[in-house]
Amino acid sequence: MRSSTATLGLLGLLYSRLACAFSLVWNENAFGSTTASAAIEAAGYGSAVDHPGLVLTAPELAENGAVVPIEVESRIPGTQSIALFVDANPNPMVAEFVFTADTPPYVSTRIKMASTSLVRVLAKTSSGVWQASQPVKVTLGGCGG
């Protein structure tokens, strides 16, 4: 028991050293939230309003919820970061992307959806937090079990 506790401690130390090399700290509260509103609040994207300059491209129908292609582009000036949420997932927060002057606010990835849900993207910009969303119908859920 004692040695396994020591091992866990060492692993924790190793992890924190490695994580120091990254500029973001993994947001345990936001990723652990079980409702979209709590996750959005914890991630710092609360009180967003829809904006046509935030463009979310997702399929209307996804046959396999384990691999749903998502593309996001913000045409809103001064976009600093973008976060992605799937309302009906057990943990709605999917990811956050923090851009710089060298990376235009565009990202494309593949996500898991447990069931049919609203997919939401939120952008932090110099003019506030904005939102775009789209319902995606899922035939076969992607969290397995």
Binding site: F22, S23, W26, V86, F97, D102, V107, I111
Partner: protein
């Protein structure tokens, strides 16, 4: 990790594939009935010539064997783009590409 970079008029499009199970921690092992422990990438960063240009945090809902595409402006041929990732077990992943 596989990285491809293609130069367009205004930017370089970078496409990244990382081999990772991205286990959610919510699935049951059918043989034992126990939950399979979560194992997923939490932090990812893209650096251009040692300067961070994109920082990301990911959760368990990023699909298995994550795919990521993003764009880099203000680059020139010969610039080095590096991707570093770290998962919740402290395992790190690294890839790099020289931009054309």
């Amino acid at each position: 990790m596989k990285i491809r970079a293609a130069r367009h008029a205004d930017f370089v499009e970078v496409k990244v594939l990382i081999q990772h199970e991205m286990e959610t921690g919510l699935r049951k092992d059918e043989a034992t009935g126990r939950l399979i422990p979560a194992h997923f990438i939490e932090l990812v960063e893209a650096n251009l010539n040692n300067r961070t240009v994109l920082s990301m945090q990911w959760g368990v809902a990023v699909a298995q064997n994550p795919y990521l595409a993003f764009r880099v402006s203000n680059s020139k041929p010969g610039d080095v783009l590096v991707i570093n990732a770290l998962d919740n077990r402290g395992e790190s992943y690294h890839g790099e590409v020289i931009l054309s």
